[in-house]
């Protein structure tokens, strides 16, 4: 370093600012480096807050394979015809141009925790001081007998938004008159607890318009599901006679699929269907397992800062993490990302760290202007992220309130996507 006058003054300020809060400097480079794997609600938010709040003091790299990110939240509304596909797509342009985040469109395929280096599919190696892993979900192999990724064209999951979502919508539109749409619902825990049931509502909405004699069959391994009373009331009101659900009492937990013949076998009974939406059991995105930070299907983290229980330099956000009481949702991941970004910034630059606060709200749409919501707030305990209070929409609410709830969800979508992508 050259000590010209400007440089010297700057260095003096930096030294003064770090008394009592040591600055971590990565080996061999000037600024601390944070690498974020995954550009969804957790990763994009974490990258943006790290870059924004550190004002250039931290080098932020975001690794995300897709150029345009389609949000899982509101993808059901696209299926129902309430949003166009482009409206749920987001680019990383602002994160790169305005926040100076190094956005790398590639897959992370390896993490060397000793050398603190991430390897990309393209061959690059990116060093980090802190690593944020926010990869979302992958599916558990063999969770639904007869289904694997090679069957996802015949039987889409549409549970990672994008071409799968478009495929499922096209299949529903092409169903023969009076045909059957089947959903194989996932066991707990899974991404977006009300998601499958909002999807049923949106498929029913579309079928009511274009194919009113069609049937919907839900094969569900769970005895209960999120916002069940609200969904059932709504289905009775808007889609009477169309939706049938087979729970575990009647074999909903003993299902296999035959993609070649479009058959669903429920506890030995064969049902021929026209569309089959298989949402298998889920686990943390593969890179979390590769990095060795998972225990079972998910990656355990400390509640105060989302730091991995396996590695002090790694943080895991969103669906992939096992954190306690928060549901796996985009809202949760966004909330966790801000706590995590603050903690990382504090550790790397000595900035002030405030107590963690988390919250979540999930809105679901049942039919036109009939929106419902469930939410809760959470705090960090030594053991887990623990729920402190919550609320849920009530059955029998008037149409004006439901309309307001829907409009609120549209406002939230604009808010959270601005918070993620700038």
């Amino acid at each position: 370093m050259k000590f010209n006058r400007r440089g010297f003054i700057g260095a003096g300020v930096a030294t003064a600012a770090t008394f009592g809060a040591p600055m971590v400097m990565g080996a061999g480079h000037g600024k601390p480096k944070v690498v974020v794997i995954g550009g969804g609600a957790g990763g994009a938010t974490a990258a943006r807050y790290l870059a924004k709040d550190s004002a250039g003091a931290i080098d932020v790299t975001l690794i995300e394979p897709t150029r345009t990110y389609y949000t899982c939240f509101f993808s059901n509304l696209y299926i129902g015809g309430f949003r166009d596909f482009a409206s749920i797509g987001h680019s990383y342009g602002a994160l790169a141009a305005e926040y100076r985040i190094n956005v790398v469109h590639d897959w992370a395929i390896g993490v060397d925790r000793d050398a603190k280096v991430v390897t990309l599919a393209g061959g690059s190696k990116i060093p980090y001081d802190s690593l944020v892993i926010s990869p979302g979900i992958d599916f558990v192999d063999g969770a639904v007998p007869g289904w694997d990724v090679s069957a996802q064209n015949a039987m889409p999951h549409a549970y990672k938004a994008g071409s799968q979502t478009q495929l499922l919508k096209a299949q529903v539109e092409a169903m023969p008159a009076g045909g059957t749409y089947a959903m194989v619902a996932p066991p707990n825990p899974f991404r977006c607890p009300p998601g499958p049931y909002e999807r049923i509502s949106m498929v029913a909405h579309m079928l009511t318009d274009i194919n009113p004699s069609a049937k919907i069959l839900i094969v569900d391994p769970k005895p209960k599901f999120s916002k069940q009373g609200l969904f059932e009331e709504g289905w009775g009101k808007h889609y009477a006679g169309m939706i049938e659900r087979i729970g575990p009492d009647f074999g909903g937990d003993k299902v296999e699929v035959r993609p070649d013949t479009m058959e669903v076998v429920i506890d030995g009974e064969v049902e021929k269907v026209d569309v089959c939406n298989v949402i298998p059991a889920q686990k943390a995105g593969k890179i979390a397992e590769i990095a060795g930070v998972t225990d079972g299907n998910w990656a355990p983290v400390h509640a105060h800062d989302m730091r991995s229980k396996m590695d002090d330099n790694i943080y895991v956000l969103g669906d992939a993490s096992a954190q306690g009481d928060m549901p796996k949702s985009g809202f949760s991941a966004n909330s966790q990302a801000k706590v995590c970004a603050m903690a990382i910034r504090g550790a790397l630059t000595g900035s002030k760290v405030f107590p963690a606060k988390f919250s979540n709200t999930c809105w679901s749409l049942i039919d036109t202007e009939d929106g419902i919501k469930v939410g809760a707030s959470y705090e960090a305990t030594d053991e887990k992220i623990a729920k402190t209070s919550g609320f849920v929409s009530k059955t029998g609410e008037d149409a004006a309130l439901r309309k307001q709830t829907y409009e609120e969800s549209v406002g939230w979508y604009a808010g959270i996507t601005a918070d993620m992508f700038g």
């Binding site: 807050y49 059932e232 289905w235 009775g236 009101k237 808007h238 889609y239 009477a240 006679g241 169309m242 939706i243 049938e244 659900r245 087979i246 729970g247 009647f250 074999g251 506890d267 030995g268 009974e269 809202f331 966004n334 909330s335 801000k338 603050m342 002030k352 405030f354 606060k357 919250s359 709200t361 919501k373 939410g375 809760a376 707030s377 402190t388 209070s389 919550g390 609320f391 008037d398 149409a399 409009e407 609120e408 969800s409 549209v410 406002g411 939230w412 604009a414 808010g415 959270i416 601005a418 918070d419």
Partner: protein, 248 residues
Amino acid sequence: MNSETVKLPQRRYVIPHRVKIILSLVFTALFSGFAAYAQPDAQEGAKVFRRCFSCHMVGEGALNRTGPSLNNLFGRAAGSVTGFAYSQDMVRAASGGLVWDIENLDTFIENPKSLISRTKMRFSGIKNPKERADLMAYLRLFSDNPANIPEAAPTLPLRDPDVNPVILAIKGDPEFGAYLSGECVSCHQIDGSDGGIPSIIGWLQADFITALQAYKSEHRPHPVMQMMAKRLSDEEIAALAAYFETVE
């Protein structure tokens, strides 16, 4: 197939058709009731004003808050309330002769930015013409012009409860507020856009604190906001108010 695995179709659950019929009867009854309202209704307008009163006071003793007092609004020149710092665009429109007659007001309330592009009024507008008419009927109660409508006392539910002056006087830490604001901006957009969820930037601190304390005490009904406010301490609310006042 053995007898244990035989499914009884009637025990699978299907939403019965009669529920739909009952519900549709209820809704028909509800909606036919609406037809009775044809004239603008100031009482309904008082309810619509709930969307405005975080920023605007009206009635006896009304002060300028985040927005100007709305007393004597009808027939008044735009941008003319003493002591209120209007946006440059509003000042420009005022010098061009804009007067708040019923047509201009209707246009402005429908979409404020359509009339004044960079107005300080960060509100997406009221699209329903009946609601606008009701709101204006309510606001007319507080205008001397037309002269035969006297100024009336404000209707009680349209004011948040007064906040203890000690709480109101807490000096918030904007840096702490900036951190806490992460929870707010998951829904409320930081650029002040308002679409389904209101803008919360640029509010006077006192208004911000009063509103959040009203959620905390459940005087305001929204369940998400009640949940958020209830776990904020008075210091945290003050910190958020201090931060959001500075956001442009």
